[in-house]
Symmetry: C2
Subunit: 401 residues, 2 copies
């Protein structure tokens, strides 16, 4: 599917793809200015203008600093050569497997001095490791994010929900971080399901190092993806920039455990801004690691965040018809079928000995006529028994020997 | 304050009061039919019509069965005599200490075959034990309800919140039941605060028996109240009928812990129907005792139930201006004050050795001009240090010996 603003034909495909990946390397992702430049000129001409010095301003200067006088074509060739050597693929908006949901990032940008909030535009390209088509992998997916410093409770919740989603054929998207992210990835893999890790650094050097074995497994069985070219280091702000892609790839984002200041709350915000399902798992009010979840669940009705306690409830938010969650109910009880007047009469029968209908009616606060109409039926159904012209409670059932 | 539909003058006061307490004893509380009768004729004439057989239908028949041929005045005298002997007071809508909030119960009645839903009208009278005026006691009050089968977590939450509310001068209203109710009452008493137990039986024989010591303490330091006259037994449906009074007396109802089928959820429903604050405490998704709370918190935005994790958040719902809850925040960090471009530059400085401004700018993705404008200030503020013509990370602070 072609979702770029400027039409391209297949002859241009290689040059457009090259321009995209060079642009994605010269400029920090999400840039509003770059997005506007590409929307106005198309990727090839936008890159030419930057490289030829026809643009001015901070973006052009920063890009020139990284291009360092090299020709764009040479820069592209070196990026592709390095990626090939590392077994890394690159996809662009013009590629067949580009997820169309990413285009919606164009609509969430808010004006403001903070580039993290202002620069929320779609990626120019994504670098990938793994044996799946990206569009297929995320078609039915849920993002699960949360604290790096998780508790045992968070570990349980992330495992249960991540496993359950993968077990039902849903892909788990997360950020590959220590804590809840890693637990969600692992749970999906344990279920034999698909998981996608969206990194804030090159896919050849996934961060953090302690998750290396996990990243290797994801690269073999799932997908490791990044907006940054191979070799890029994870800077602090890049995690926040990256979060918009975690939110945009999936049908909804689930916050599993988060302290008050957790960065994962920003991913949930992006999901809300994209009008995707925004969900959070509650926890004990005694746990600092759930304070962020509770704050999200306390939002006003116009910014709804849905409380999630079961996998079925996640599917109710993100799934189609036929995947609705059943409302939890306790076990049914023998008296459930009683009408209120029947219940009132049964209650009014003394626990010891019996009583006449008139007394039972008076205690129950119903008319004698109503009592006489109902008491025989209650006896017939075993809720009471006849007793010396009146009624008594049924005898207790004998315990089986 | 006089909130009855029919005006009375002080000469009638005694007879109106007598009529109220007889009506409250002849007919199960909440009755819509009785409410309409009293609204049409006033309490005295309504009672006369019932006693004289001028009314027909199930209500009249049930009332006649309880009156058992006695004159209403005699019936009233015996009720008052018994109450006096037991140290029980009675208040009616015409009494000075009647809480005006109870009148709002007239507006929540819904049509339906189930008397528990149909008969939600205000009490005719309330029987009391305790040294406080009822209207004063509930003016600043919160109802706390929940499961009889609480967990340790529920015990913690109910204690913390009940104590905190009482400690801030708020009265805790509950139902005197085993579990969360009793814990909330005890927590309020521990704080030296006021608590009101609304019973579904006579205040002379509070149920359950295992809470007898608690009821004794409440009767001495708080208030035990009931719509039912002394001597009345607690029938199952009476708990549900009673719940509307728990919800109506206070400014809001807080569900602390509740399984899926907990009757306490009905009290929260009444609070919503009365447009009072409806609140619930979340818990671990692993706990069956929190399933009912989570279901309430999952309601659609048009029936909002607010998640509560702290006493301050309760006060935000029920309190006036100046009692707003602060938004929880983690501890602030030294880098908090950095602008995004500053943070990006700091991140781009290598952890070992140093780098020139041009390299730092390229890695950060900012223009050299911006880097040169900002780097000296970062060094000045100690976020970086100058190093061989470029910049390096600050040296680690020495540990104090």
């Amino acid at each position: 599917m072609n979702i770029v603003d400027i039409p391209t034909d297949s002859a241009d495909e290689q040059s457009v793809g090259d321009a995209r990946l060079v642009l994605g390397s010269l400029v920090e992702p999400g840039s509003r200015r770059l997005h506007e430049l590409v929307a106005a000129y198309g990727p090839v001409e936008a890159l030419d203008r930057l490289a030829a010095g026809h643009e001015s301003g901070p973006l052009a200067e920063a890009a020139a600093l990284r291009l360092h006088g090299r020709a764009p074509a040479e820069f592209a060739a070196r990026l592709r050569e390095r990626a090939d050597r590392l077994g890394v693929r690159v996809v662009t908006p013009e590629s067949g497997e580009w997820p169309s949901r990413l285009a919606e990032l164009r609509h969430i940008s808010v004006d403001g001095p903070n580039p993290v909030d202002r620069d929320t535009y779609p990626p120019q390209c994504l670098w990938l490791r793994g044996p799946h088509r990206l569009d297929d992998a995320v078609e039915r997916s849920v993002s699960m994010v949360g604290a790096r410093a998780n508790t045992l409770y968070g570990q349980y919740a992330a495992t249960e929900l991540g496993y359950g989603l993968a077990d039902r054929g849903w892909t788990v998207v997360s950020g590959g971080a220590y804590g809840i992210d890693a637990i969600a990835h692992r749970a999906a893999l344990s279920a034999g399901g698909l998981t996608v890790a969206v990194l804030a650094c090159g896919v050849d050097r996934p961060y953090p190092l302690s998750n290396t074995a996990l990243f290797d497994q994801i690269a073999e069985e799932g997908l490791l993806i990044s907006e940054w070219p191979p070799g890029t280091a994870p800077f602090k702000l890049r995690f926040l920039v990256r979060n918009r892609v975690i939110a945009a790839l999936s049908r909804g984002t689930l916050l599993v455990e988060a302290a008050a200041r957790s960065g994962a709350r920003q991913t949930l915000r992006r999901a809300r801004q994209l009008r995707r399902a925004a969900m959070a798992v509650p926890g004990p009010i005694t746990s600092q690691a759930s304070v962020g979840c509770h704050e999200e669940l306390r939002r006003e009705p116009h910014e709804p965040v849905r409380l999630i306690a079961t996998v079925e409830q996640v599917l109710e938010e993100v799934g189609g018809i036929g995947e609705l969650a059943p409302v939890p109910r306790g076990a049914s009880r023998p008296t459930d079928a009683l009408e209120p007047v029947e219940q009132q009469l049964v209650d009014a029968v003394p626990r010891r000995g019996g009583a006449y209908a008139e007394q039972i009616a008076a205690d129950a606060g119903v008319s004698l006529r109503a009592a006489l109409a109902v008491l025989p039926s209650l006896a017939l159904r075993g809720h009471l028994r006849e007793h010396g012209g009146g009624y008594a409670r049924p005898l207790p059932a004998r315990h089986k020997p």
